[in-house]
Symmetry: C2
Subunit: 330 residues, 2 copies
């Protein structure tokens, strides 16, 4: 087993977020799934965009956001994801590279366009996401750079990519490659609806010991286990993965690693502006600590601090010097 070249290699959706503030009434009027993530086709995306207030565009994608946080924290990262050969694809690639992340998956020619997520942020800071996956749904297994995957200490995967067929195959292959190279596999469940559709797959992966670090939130854990009690659900999964991290929004987060348990409260935030990226940045902070071999509680604290930073402004990636922030707070 050679020395890893990267701390984290991630595979995820390569999308640009289109973020607008809106009143609660618009969520109802457009019949959106408040607080959730809904996959939409291009026609629906166009309709929703027409109804959307003026917006700002920032690069997004769950695993890509997490990598941006990890890279900002000083770790070496590489990303695999599918953009189209268009302006938004160039924006996404720029933002990844400008964050210090290696991202060399070639752009896909022709239609569809680079994916985008129409995000409606209500006055309470809650984000409602409508995702047109675009080129991202065609990430083929052949686009995986297997030597790249084998060169990362941790392979990080997002559940969102489990939904479209080609990326799902690509992810399965990536897990094989990473495990074959003796690397760790981290996985974020992403969203309950993904687990509803692909829960058997995920449970198989977990039961077969394919996941080393699993990130879930409360509702994902309930969907995964079928157990409404958080505590009971946590006890069901914890023995099956070397490291389980469960985030609970304003109730903080809990983790278990081989029976060692830790929990932290949520980091206080003066004003929640936009919750987009909260889970992504929690994972970034946690993985940064994990990669450095820190104690479980410190890993969780890093997650909580990174999550608090990202929900205090629009956009899913850090806009503050996270290293400095953590140096002050830890």
């Amino acid at each position: 087993m050679t020395e890893p070249r990267y701390d984290v290699v991630a595979i995820g959706n390569a999308v640009v977020d289109v973020i607008a503030s809106c009143e609660d009434e618009l969520i109802e009027e457009l019949e959106l799934n408040r607080g959730g993530m809904t996959l939409v086709d291009e026609a629906r995306a166009d309709d929703l965009y027409r109804a959307m207030p003026p917006a700002r565009e920032v690069s997004g994608g769950s695993a890509a956001n997490t990598l941006a946080g990890i890279s900002t924290l000083g770790l070496q990262c590489a990303f695999i994801g599918q953009v189209a050969d268009d302006q938004l694809g160039k924006v996404f690639r720029h933002d990844m590279r400008a964050t210090g992340i290696d991202f060399d998956t070639p752009a896909r020619q022709g239609e569809p366009a680079t994916g985008r997520v129409l995000i409606f942020v209500t006055p309470d800071g809650e984000r409602t996401m409508n995702t047109f996956l675009g080129a991202g749904q065609y990430l083929p297994a052949s686009a995986l750079d297997e030597s790249l995957i084998a060169s990362g200490a941790i392979l990080y995967l997002e559940g969102y990519l489990w939904d479209p067929e080609e990326p799902r195959k690509a992810m399965r292959r990536a897990i094989e490659v990473a495990r074959g190279a003796g690397r760790k596999v981290a996985f974020t469940a992403s969203e309950s609806f993904v687990i509803e559709r692909h829960g058997d797959d995920f449970r198989d992966l977990i039961d077969n010991g394919m996941i080393d670090i699993l990130f879930v939130n409360e509702s994902e854990l309930a969907t995964l286990t079928g157990e409404p009690s958080f505590e009971k659900g946590f006890e069901m999964i914890a023995p099956k993965v070397p490291c389980l991290v469960a985030t609970r929004s304003e109730k903080g987060a809990v983790a278990d690693a081989g029976g060692v348990r830790a929990s932290v409260p949520a980091e206080p935030v003066a004003k929640v502006v936009d919750t987009t990226g909260a889970g992504d940045q929690f994972a970034a902070g946690f993985l940064c600590g994990f990669a450095h071999g820190e104690e479980l509680e410190k890993c969780l604290r890093r997650g909580a601090i990174a999550a608090a930073e990202v929900i205090s402004h629009y956009g899913p990636r850090p806009e503050t010097d996270l290293q400095k922030l953590m140096a002050e707070k830890l």
Copy 2:
């Protein structure tokens, strides 16, 4: 003279701002014109983009920003400007329409792409702009909807568009059309370098009574008059235009309308985040008051409040309910 259908019709650059925070050292390293606006070709824009930190994209353009402010304040507005048929052009059009502005200039097919402005924001909040005009430099006089121009009580023009040849011709034609229809012409000088190149043109327009409302800042006034003293320069121009508005950054603003003089201090701001759009939103606030026939001082106050709002966040357009803000402060 028929009743105007719009309060303000504007012609301006149709560009998307690409905004990144950066340290002062990067400005020096890239040899940027700190605090200014520099026109760049596509190759230079690409080079600068490669060197730029992660960014956010928001619709911009000086006159377009001003219209966004005016529209937010409840007035009827229409815009004329040239985007390309591409993703950023669609973003620009969406944001105009979503702000309530009519914008129907057809997109231009083929190269170049929709214009973009690479904006580097230093820790003091100062913005350094590098503009690739793209499709905008080809706004032809034929793209002007003359009945639209004739239907606006005020025609608002930005000096930036004086630089490329085709838009300059288009603007001259637009002034003829507006004056022929008995409308007022408002003009913002935009930037000293534009006056350096086209000062004779502007002085002719002013001397010939073609400009009813002129917006300048201190350095533009000095370039226009060749007079370093603000007070003396102001006295030179004031008698030549029905309304002169001079903004002085943290020193506030002064206006003269037919010998009536008013001035206001700058509105206090807790933290200057990004000065992009300060002048644009000052003009928006002022024109809103002007369109309502308010007293000069109140028009200036509206300008100062709108400018203070926009420099307290990233991006050149209002993100707060300006009507509510002004109701509280006036």
